[in-house]
């Protein structure tokens, strides 16, 4: 049996002619119509009797999902899973999450709009569309407006449909054959693959430019260049040309008592914890330890924090017997000066905080190896 035709197509010279023709063709009893135009024509949906597109609802739902999803992810990442306290703000710092939330909703919304339009509502890919085989497609993509009568019902007659289109002012009437079930050939796949590769290359090149080249271009320097001396900058004002000044001979800056002992053992003998024995000191030590030390030494001091698995050096196990025997002053010396790969913390942690950390390490050690009298 011969497959039924895809439809009967006619071309109109203008959008107005098309809009005027549609009711005339409909009046002849052809209900299923399709239009092909070089640009979106206002009023075409209504004239064709198409229902309002569902695309808007789909885009709204996906955009809302993007907004809620990104906000929830930001909340989980920044407030729950790994709370980051910066700049004196709460872990739940929602204003900072609004820009990514906005981006998330735009991202999902626009992608939904484009992809759903192409692949859901327009049912692409459709390689065997009969219109693409017709010379009419050249004109429709240029300056002609096509109207197609889609066969419906058993009594459809191509000649009648063609006559109806002609009567409505259509020209170049033709019957489009049934869609072929052709599949793309090897050449099409090659072209498509090459196009995707070219797009990737362009995007990669643009990214490289944006990351490597663009930052070295400085259109605005007014925040970067300021009338002040940065660290290590020379300054001709001083006789020795150094911008950074040394304290006068024999003086000690407030709060920066230097450690004059050269090694850990001497530190253990000489340095003495000045802090009182109070719960506040321990609490301070806990905060400082969790902030600076726990990332490598683990919150219990076992040296098996999550960073150690990706880090070649093995952080010290603060629960080991060596560490238990080490004097308070020696621990303080190590925190201040660093040891092996551990950097010096004197610049980041104040002396009192360092002593509080030592105190807290002792509490941690006791918590993991408690004598029986502590448990009663």
């Amino acid at each position: 049996m011969r497959k039924p035709a895809y439809g009967v197509l006619a071309l109109f010279p203008s959008a107005d002619a098309l809009l005027k023709a549609i009711p005339k063709v409909k009046a002849k009893g052809y209900a299923k119509l399709e239009a092909y135009t070089p640009y979106p024509v206002h009023g075409l949906d209504a004239a064709l009797g198409l229902p309002e597109s569902k695309l808007g609802i789909l885009v709204f739902l996906m955009a809302a999902f993007g907004a809620v999803g990104v906000f929830a992810f930001e909340w989980w990442a920044n407030a729950v899973n790994y709370p980051l306290l910066t700049d004196g703000k709460n872990a739940f710092s929602w204003p900072a999450w609004i820009p990514p939330t906005l981006e998330g909703s735009i991202f999902l919304g626009t992608f939904t709009a484009a992809l759903a339009m192409l692949f859901v509502f327009n049912e692409l890919p459709f390689f065997g569309h009969p219109l693409l085989k017709s010379p009419a497609i050249d004109e429709i993509t240029r300056d002609r407006f096509g109207l197609l009568i889609v066969p419906s019902g058993a009594s459809f007659d191509e000649a009648d449909a063609a006559a109806a289109l002609r009567a409505a002012g259509g020209a170049a009437v033709e019957t489009l054959p049934a869609p072929s079930d052709e599949k793309p050939d090897a050449a099409w796949w090659t072209r498509t693959a090459l196009a995707i590769a070219a797009a990737c290359a362009v995007a990669g090149g643009a990214t490289a430019f944006a990351i490597r080249v663009f930052p070295t271009v400085k259109p605005m320097v007014n925040m970067e260049v300021q009338p002040r001396l940065d660290a290590q900058e020379p300054d001709p004002f001083f006789a020795n040309g150094r911008g950074m000044r040394l304290p006068p001979e024999g003086t000690v800056p407030r709060g920066e008592l230097p450690i004059l002992v050269a090694n850990l053992d001497a530190g253990g003998r000489v340095l003495i914890d000045p802090l009182p024995v109070t719960a506040r000191v321990l609490e301070r030590g806990r905060r400082q330890f969790d902030l600076h030390c726990a990332v490598c030494h683990d919150r219990l001091g076992t040296g098996r924090a999550r960073l150690s698995s990706v880090y070649s050096a093995k952080p010290a196990d603060l629960q080991s017997s060596t560490m238990r025997r080490m004097a308070d002053g020696a621990l303080y010396w190590v925190i201040s000066r660093g040891y092996n790969t551990m950097p010096a913390y004197a610049a980041d942690v104040s002396p009192d905080d360092r002593w509080a950390i030592v105190r807290y390490i002792r509490a941690l050690q006791r918590s993991q190896d408690a004598p029986e009298r502590d448990l009663k």
């Binding site: 206002h42 009023g43 075409l44 949906d45 209504a46 309002e52 808007g56 709204f60 700049d87 004196g88 703000k89 204003p95 900072a96 609004i98 820009p99």
Partner: protein, 385 residues
């Protein structure tokens, strides 16, 4: 509408304005100068925003050469009749300078940021700027609108051409003057604070509320059959503008907040702290939800923007939010707490009824559509689909 109804409505407004005026005077006597001046400034800013917003809308339609807006243009032109009344309101507001502006208070010459700004914030220059702004606004009103009203009789198409030539220049003048106005009359209340996008912030609210006022005016006239030929499609564009400027306001408001919240500099962030903590926190949340989310979600679909009832409700809501916005900006200068009681109601009664009297009078004068505009017929033919 019969003249009798108009007169009855006008009499009711006169009575309301009179009661409001008593309340306004009582505020000064019973509650003191700061309360009085804060409220006076709130309404000065709101009325200036609505008037400038409508001038902006009229100029915008001339610049873009929009056809859809021609049949509706008389409505913003009539609401802009508030512009000349800004002069007396501003003249009274000048007396608030020594009372509530932080840069006029004793000891201001010892606060570094105020000293640095003293070249800008001093009496002669401040008054000069106000005079310049008012002169530009009133002149622009005459050039943009009075000529258009006169065109109804002359039917001279050259008027349209010459208004369209002036409109772009007005945009530049408006950008400058509304920024100066925002800095002078709102920011400089807390003169140590600064935000260079504050002018844009006030502008965004001004245009949103002007579109809302225009929408209400169009619906008012349309229900009385005075805008024949105006359809859902014309209304749709007003809804679209309201929706768009709602998003613009939200974007600007949040950007301003985010930058200062992030940087957390004491000289900037105190301003937001006053307005987001204590009892003002509720107003802040109402502002975020009401000024952005309600119109944003309420005007999202195409059918929402064509729904006359929906649009009227949202337009009234948007105007209410403009009051909340300006109240949120200015009221905290009186100190901590929520300053919302009978004086605020009295001021609202006085300025709303007086403003409505001005608009109503303009509404009942001349033609309801710009019959002299050569594009009116095309504008009436406007269809979305």
């Amino acid at each position: 509408m019969s003249a009798a109804t108009t007169n009855r409505r006008a009499r009711a407004l006169w009575a309301a304005a009179a009661i409001g005026a008593v309340g306004v005077a009582a505020t000064y006597v019973l509650d003191g100068a700061p309360r009085f001046w804060a409220n006076w400034l709130v309404w000065f800013v709101i009325l200036a925003c609505v008037a400038l917003g409508t001038l902006f809308l009229v100029a915008l339609q001339h610049i873009t050469g929009s056809l859809w807006s021609v049949p509706l243009r008389r409505v913003p032109e009539r609401i802009a009749a508030l512009t000349p009344w800004l002069v007396p309101i501003a003249a009274v507001a000048l007396f608030s300078l020594p009372a509530v502006f932080s840069w006029t208070q004793p000891g201001a010459d010892k606060i570094t940021p105020l000293v640095l700004k003293s070249a800008w914030l001093n009496y002669p220059f401040f008054i000069l700027r106000l005079a310049a702004c008012l002169a530009i606004w009133v002149l622009s009103y005459r050039l943009l609108i009075t000529r258009s009203l006169r065109q109804d009789e002359t039917k001279d198409p050259k008027v349209t051409v010459s208004i369209r030539r002036f409109a772009p220049a007005f945009m530049i003048l408006l950008a400058l003057t509304i920024t100066v106005f925002a800095f002078d009359w709102v920011s400089s209340l807390e003169a140590a604070w600064y935000s260079d996008m504050f002018g844009v912030y006030l502008f965004a609210g001004a245009v949103t509320s002007a579109v809302a006022a225009t929408t209400l005016g169009v619906i008012y006239l349309h229900r009385r059959g005075r805008l024949p030929g105006v359809t859902d499609d014309h209304l749709y564009n007003l809804g679209g503008l309201m929706f768009g400027f709602t998003i613009f306001w939200g974007y600007i408001a949040f950007s301003q907040y985010l930058l200062q919240w992030y940087a957390n500099l004491p000289e900037e962030v105190f301003w937001f702290q006053q307005r987001t903590s204590g009892k003002m926190e509720g107003v802040f949340i109402l502002l975020m939800a009401g000024h952005f989310f309600v119109p944003f979600l309420g005007l999202m679909t195409r059918s929402d923007k064509k729904n006359w009832r929906r649009l009227r409700g949202i337009a009234i809501w948007v105007l209410l939010m403009e009051f909340v916005d300006v109240f949120w900006l200015i009221s905290p200068i009186q100190g901590r707490g929520l300053h919302l009681s009978w004086p605020e109601a009295a001021f609202a009664l006085f300025f709303l009824s007086a403003g409505l009297l001005v608009i109503l009078r303009a509404m009942n004068r001349g033609e309801d559509m710009p019959v002299g505009d050569p594009f009116l017929a095309d504008g009436l033919k406007f269809h979305l689909r």
